[in-house]
């Protein structure tokens, strides 16, 4: 731990782009993978360009290990080519005129290695990412997953001090995404430096990252371990990408008075004051009549919208509180759910995640 304070990425970044401003801090320890999760237009690409050096920052400073690479106050600006940050770009940006082998060796050639020496040195990465059979191919002849491995090998072959990945899976079709994600996870774990993963897909963040920084409108709105962020979202955006109902209210003596009407029984009385309540859509049940049983929270509402999601059906219910509920297809038939059907909702107090917010 003694070295960790100076090693890794230490960045305070302010960038103005017309109406939009990005202002955030980011610290990533060596060996740590931090996901920057945010919707389109949140400033993720701007952050990435700032870190890499393609866009100079307007305020703050960026330190990489013990080297300041950008600091407008001190008039320091190190160009991208000298920062030694490996980048896996969205859509990968492989050089279309070079073979897989030459793409991987590109960084080493740029560093002054001869053709022969660069190929020998890049051999390790060709092997590690299982590209040996593809070495003579051009990027146009690769599948999405293969191209991603080439991009990763190309970035890692330069022995970068830090690794940045920009939406590394968004260019892939859903079928291969899961597989590639698992492989990528393994490679990221082997990288000893700090890794920043920029994504709008919560699954990328959950599977690949140790920590999540949520970026919305150029500001950090939540920061924590992947577990914390997934369980206890603090903004509607995080809740929606994590697939959770998020309600805001005030807790007193085990009862949460919700700001938008209604009240819920909390699992315990320990939390007091302004709180957030997260409920999984599958933890809420729908009934045609008022349910008898152990559920502590029961309320009534009207079906607003019905939408199939995978093998389940997502039902939006207008009520106090309004929530989305996941039910089985057969439940939709049994309950005769259509728009405007009156339903009862129930959920156990123990299914509620209640936390200060």
């Amino acid at each position: 731990m003694t070295d960790d304070s100076t090693q890794g990425i230490h960045a305070t970044i302010g960038i103005d782009r017309g109406e939009f401003t990005l202002d955030m801090s980011l610290t990533v320890a060596p060996g740590e993978v931090v996901a920057v999760l945010g919707p389109n237009g949140a400033g993720k690409s701007t952050l990435l360009r700032g870190l890499v050096g393609l866009t100079p920052i307007d305020r703050g400073s960026i330190r990489l290990d013990d080297v300041v690479v950008d600091d407008p106050d001190a008039d320091v600006l190190i160009e991208p080519a000298k920062r030694r940050i490996g980048v896996v770009f969205q859509e990968y940006r492989l050089f279309p005129h070079l073979t897989v082998e030459d793409n991987v060796a590109f960084g080493l050639r740029s560093a002054g290695f001869g053709k022969q020496a660069a190929q020998v040195a890049s051999q390790e990465w060709i092997d590690r990412l299982e590209l040996a059979a593809l070495r003579a191919r051009k990027p146009g002849e690769l599948s999405g997953g293969q191209a991603q491995r080439v991009a990763l090998a190309r970035a890692l072959a330069t022995k970068p001090r830090a690794l940045l990945l920009d939406e590394p899976l968004s260019a892939l079709d859903i079928a291969t995404r899961q597989d590639v994600r698992t492989h990528l996870s393994g490679h990221l774990r082997q990288f000893a430096g700090p890794t920043v993963l920029v994504t709008h897909d919560p699954l990328d963040a959950l599977v690949l990252a140790d920590r999540v920084v949520v970026l919305e409108g150029g500001r950090v709105t939540q920061e924590g371990t992947t577990h914390e962020v997934a369980q206890r979202p603090s903004t509607p955006y995080v809740a929606s990408v994590m697939g959770l109902n998020l309600l805001r209210g005030k807790a007193l003596a085990g009862i949460v008075q919700l700001d938008d009407g209604g009240e819920l029984q909390a699992p315990d009385a320990s939390t007091v004051g302004p709180v957030l309540v997260a409920i999984r859509p599958a933890a809420i049940s729908l009934h045609a009549h008022r349910p008898e049983g152990s559920a502590r929270n029961v309320w009534q509402g009207v079906v607003d919208n019905i939408q199939p999601v995978g093998d389940r059906v997502r039902v939006s219910v207008s009520a106090s509180p309004s929530v989305v509920v996941d039910v089985t297809r057969s439940a939709v038939v049994e309950l005769g759910l259509v728009r405007d059907t009156s339903v009862w909702l129930s959920t156990k107090a123990t299914e509620l995640e209640v936390y200060a917010g």
């Binding site: 160009e79 080519a81 859509e91 590109f106 960084g107």
Partner: protein, 269 residues
Amino acid sequence: MSRRRRPATSPPWPVTLPAVLALAFLTLPVIGLLVRTPWGHLLDILTSKTSLDALRLSLETSIAATIIAFLVGVPLAWLLARSEFVGRRLARALVTVPLVLPPVVGGIALLLAFGRRGLVGQYLDSCCGITLPFTTPGVVVAETFVAMPFLIITVEGALRGLDSKLEDAAATLGAGRWTIFRRVTLPLIGPSLIAGAVLTFARALGEFGATITFAGNLPGVTQTLPLAVYVGLEGDLDQAVALSLILLLVSIAVLVGLRDRWLRTGSAS
């Protein structure tokens, strides 16, 4: 046999008639050239000293003009496309002037600049003993003047159209600006470089007005193919037609070559 029914798709005659006329107007001269070509003793004419001299001179000067245009034109295209400097718009406009300037006017302008008494020419003459008018290097100068804009405009367009994402990627891999230009930018605009060079070569090969004004019409020294054709018209029509045929073949080769290039590689994807 049953009659096949067709929807009435034939265009109206007010369109068809002028269209056929236009096509005939464009092709008849070429047919006329082919018909009038002295096929019987074509080889004799083309291997005559006048023809061979003109052919050799044309090839040499056109290739030299293309190389010079390449060496200075590509950097200029890069500057026009990629860097901000005062007067960039003016520079771009000036580049296109030789395209629209009547070549004869270009020739006179060249004389006034590079002639023995010219703006620059007087110093070339006095300090280094270099004289351009009425010499073979003068032909190259005239051809470069009229042809280089084709290269600059083609390459500048390609550079503007090139997404800088790949160049950014190269920078993150440690490549300096020169390495990026050499190993990423140039290969990506390769098809346009070739197209620009071929257009430049073709324009240089056909150059007449500026050449005859600035470099004169000396057989073996400044008499290129188009000039030989012009002279042939006055005396030996067969020779004029035979040499024209060569220029026609080169033009067709350029057209076919360019079309093939663009179809095969297109823009970088």
